[in-house]
Amino acid sequence: MNGAAPVRILADGRLAAGNRLGGIAGLWARVAWSDATAIDEGALGRWLAEVDPNVASELALTPAPGPADAVAAFARVAAALMASGRSLAIVIDRETTPAGRSALVIVEEGRAVAPERVMAAAADLLAAAVAGLPAAGFRDRVADCGAPPIKAFLRYAYTLIPARLAARGAAARPALGQRGSLVGEGVGARLFLFTMGRGTGALGAAIAARKDACAALLSRFGLPVPRQLPVADADAAEAAAGAIGYPVVVKPADRSGGAGVAAGLAHAAEVRQAFARAAAVSRRIVVEEMLRGEDHRLTVIGGRMVAAALRVPPEVVGDGRRSVRALIDAVNADPQRGGSRSMLLPLVCDGETDRLLAAAGLTFASVPPAGMRVRLHSAANLTMGARPVDVTASVHPDNRAAAVHAAAIMGLDLAGIDFISPDIGRSWREIGGGICEVNREPGLLVHQVAEGGPDMAEACARHILAPAPLVPIVAVLGGGDADAAAQAIAAAMAESGLAVGLAAGRHLVAAGLRLSDPGPGDPLRVTRLVAHPAVEAVVAAVPPAAVVARGFGHGRADVALVAEPGAPDLAAATRIMAAIGAEVVDGSSPLDADLVRRIAARRPPS
């Protein structure tokens, strides 16, 4: 971009957790800016909407920090590029010196594939919007730096649990790519992928991926599952359907998310077509008895059914005036459907919709009579626009128990049970129904969007964390003096029986194991010690200037010991440490045995 750009980046970089924003990681940029360019909010939003509606939607929801000038717009665009459902924290320091003026912009690091590209992309997008360049040329820039390549509403779902964890004081750090996260400290550190933490065992998850094995296992224990027959070709599928009795379901045994599933098949031709569609996505196809009733999702966490939702297949209700097409458009006009922070998706029509309409004697142009329910799909998938209803309080104890038993038999601590029942308030033993699928990685949204449904993200966060002890973390602020003090504290803590992680001088050692060392002053040292699963206490000597410039390396600390009162940037560093919870202690005098005892007393429960 040329010199007329609204902001020009002079330098930028990343900030580890434990910085001026608090316990969260951030991106910083020092920028020069020009007042010559007025920022037209409306025009910026419209232009961004052409590039990526989700980014525009996030921008509109991100408040301006202080005066709404070019710097603020730049910071907000950067935040919008990474936000995916939550407004990110922003700090801006404008300063004027004899050399000119500049601003330090710090933006909380959100979800981004390449965070290091975000600041440059934000500056270029802002300049392009002001210059009115064609939006199409900038779509790659957004994809390149920002959003992970998943559907926007799932992107939002992925932010829900980390947000709940952060609210509980346990910031999740990215690991294993975009979906994986690490949460907790030392011996309490744990990996999780979306909802799958330690309680999702490999054996249970493997069985859950095979619908045929899963049904056989549950049926062995007397749980209600539909009859199922594996089929190799369309002829076999037709024969199986005849043996089971119409209507039937045809589905792949090893796919998820409703791929290749067709339900309510009433005759041979439909079964043969359904087989062909299922065979396009898998080689393991089963024909299954169609359980009669409504589709429910019962979610089990830690041996308890914590939520139940009735999943209503996507439908519109006639009003005697509007066509099917107009009714669909009206539902989709609801701002709750779609958008960067929406949990409901628009109604989608496909070949199945055409078939269902035809079967009902309708077309998209037909005007259904008032009160007529027009089904657009047979399955109640959120991705097709389904909207569930919370029924947690009305589930019959037998149905609840069946869900709990199924999860236990599968070996899954957290499971989503798809339960078909004509009336979820009555027992399956009395009126039939049963379990048609067990999901190892249940979506949260089905309960989250159901009116009155429980906060599943909160329940999952609690489950992932429990029990996740925090380990004592001691920062020793200073130069060479800090190294000696840190070593003395670590030695005293080790003597009290703690497995200590120590960063001091040339040492980076986690409970006896020497780690690869990025070097003194690098926040990665603290990050690595805190993430190490054998560590019960962390002691790190850190230069105050490094804390200010690059961040502490973790979002929490118990004690900040000042070992060198005259160190540069000490005041700013102690402010940061205090803001992330550290008790600031004068450590210039000889080592205080009582302090070590107090720190060691914070040891995690074993």
């Binding site: 990996l191 490999a202 224990f221």
Partner: protein
């Protein structure tokens, strides 16, 4: 030697606590010569020739099972021509009987063609689970955990009810799926370890021969090229020329391959179980792995342990490379080359001096604190059985237990009725001990079915006999009970060695059983 009939008995039968196969043999032909047959089977059978055909058959079946790698737990001649073969760690007895019959018939008929015995052993071995599974099942048997195969696809089961643990090879029930998924990719494992500061071989992912060539150049012109999943064996030979790189990429045969820096030497493979490095092997190419547990420096063991811990696996094989694995970390330059979750134990079992102890440590890691793996089990026989079972279940429920009940009226666990048909004995008890929510079990027993087919589980804590039951059946129940037999009205006299408790009625019998099991 002709087998007229075979019958299988479930665990807890009148011959043994383990499942057995009973074989009835036809009377030997007049001209059959057991001594000659014994001689022809000499490579398989040691010792003097047995005097009778039944004993010869039993010895042949036992020798075949042992040679195949799963010795029988015992053999018995119960009548002329009637042989009981007791399962070893796996359900081998029936297959061993069939093959023994064929082999003996051939040996009685004349000289055996070369390779006949070896073929019988190999054939039998093919019917068995893997050496890893056999070693774990044996360790489970030694721990009294009544190991058994689970339903298809769900591995082996050790222990009972809430104290049961399931395993698939060396993947435990508590092995997180996240770890399992991570470990399927060398790239993910290396990234995870590197992010933790654990030293690893530098590597990258290449999706074309050209990209692989570029990656090799970045690594200084020499590199190894291997699969993304760590299911291949040792270290490939380093490549450097474009032709070699292209050939190595092609040999991987997948859309992507790992390009890693060449290791300083052949890898050492560390077995980590329950957080401890329990064995180490030198994996020199072209040679059988050698036990190097003592030769590896403590720092190398520590590195292996931490690599497994970071990936969060119960049991892992960690390949390390170093200049010298026997030196401290600062000098050895030891780095992680591979982490495999759920590794096969074969190379370790073959190399170490005490394979049983090693298998037991691995099993202990997989059991994850499940302890003795037992829940209280009470079996009730006689006309009063339903009343006693109901009273005991009620008492247990009052204590907050999640009781599993199986009887003529059906089967229920933790208050949920799962079956409403006849689930007495072997039709119900195996489901109760396999049900992960049941923390106590009471099962009604049909005396006739117990006598003819077994109980379906090798042990119970207390037997209650309330009503007329045949003496031998009462003796069998007493033999299966680890704690006591409660004898209600009508119970036959019991052997004097049995800890017997008298009860006046159903309520008294239930109370006595409850007291004998003890508090929760």
């Amino acid at each position: 030697m002709e087998i007229v009939a075979t019958q299988s008995h479930a665990a807890g039968n009148r011959f043994h606590r383990s499942p057995v196969t009973v074989v009835r043999l036809a009377a030997a032909a007049a001209d059959a010569d057991p001594a000659a047959a014994h001689g022809r089977l000499a490579p398989l059978l040691g010792g003097p020739a047995p005097g009778d055909p039944g004993s010869l058959f039993a010895a042949t079946a036992a020798a075949l099972a042992a040679a195949a790698g799963d010795p029988l737990a015992g053999t018995r001649i119960v009548a002329a021509g009637e042989v009981v073969l007791v399962h070893g760690a796996t359900a081998i007895a029936a297959a061993a009987a069939t093959r023994a019959g064929v082999l003996l018939a051939a040996a009685l008929a004349g000289p055996l063609p070369a390779g006949t015995i070896a073929a019988a052993v190999t054939g039998l071995r093919r019917t068995l689970p893997s050496p890893t599974d056999r070693a774990l099942l044996r360790a489970g048997t030694a721990r009294g955990l009544s190991p058994r195969p689970g339903p298809a696809g769900s591995g082996s089961h050790f222990g009972e009810g809430v104290r049961m643990r399931r395993t698939l090879g060396t993947v435990g029930e508590r092995t997180p799926f996240v770890s399992f998924e991570t470990a399927r990719s060398r790239l993910l494992v290396a990234r995870l370890l590197a992010a933790h500061g654990v030293p690893v071989l530098r590597l990258s992912l290449a999706t074309s021969p050209a990209a692989a060539g570029a990656a090799v150049a970045r690594l200084g012109g020499r590199a190894i090229i291997r699969k993304v999943t760590p299911d291949d064996g040792g270290m490939p030979v380093p490549v450097s020329t474009p032709a070699d790189v292209a050939a190595a990429f092609g040999a991987v045969g997948e859309r992507a391959a790992i390009v890693a820096e060449p290791p300083p030497g052949p890898p050492w493979r560390f077995l980590v179980a329950g957080g401890r490095s329990v064995a180490a092997l030198r994996m020199d190419p072209g040679r059988a792995p050698v036990d190097a547990t003592a030769a590896a420096h403590a720092d190398s063991h520590l590195l292996a342990e931490r690599a497994a811990l970071v990936v969060a696996s119960d049991v892992a094989a960690v390949d390390l490379v170093a200049q010298d694995m026997g030196r401290p970390a600062g000098e050895s330059g030891a780095r992680v080359a591979d982490v495999r979750l759920g590794p096969a134990l074969d190379p370790f079992l073959a190399a170490v001096a005490a394979p049983e102890a090693l298998a037991d440590r691995v099993l202990a890691a997989l059991l994850d604190g499940a302890g003795e793996g037992r829940i209280p089990i009470v079996a009730v026989a006689g006309a009063g059985a339903p009343a006693v079972a109901a009273a005991l279940a009620e008492t247990w429920r009052g204590e907050g237990r999640r009781v599993g009940t199986a009887g003529r009226a059906g089967l229920a666990v933790a208050g949920l009725v799962l079956f409403d048909d006849d689930r007495r004995g072997r039709r119900g008890l195996p489901l109760l001990v396999d049900h992960p929510l049941a923390d106590a079990a009471v099962v009604e027993v049909d005396a006739d079915d117990l006598w003819r087919h077994g109980l379906g589980h090798p042990r119970i804590d207390v037997a209650v006999i309330d009503g007329a039951v045949a003496g031998p059946v009462a003796d069998l129940l007493a033999a299966l009970a680890d704690i006591a037999v409660v004898a209600g009205p009508g119970a036959p006299p019991l052997p004097s060695a049995v800890h017997a408790i008298a009860a006046a009625d159903a309520a008294g019998a239930a109370a006595a059983a409850h007291a004998a099991v003890g508090p929760r």
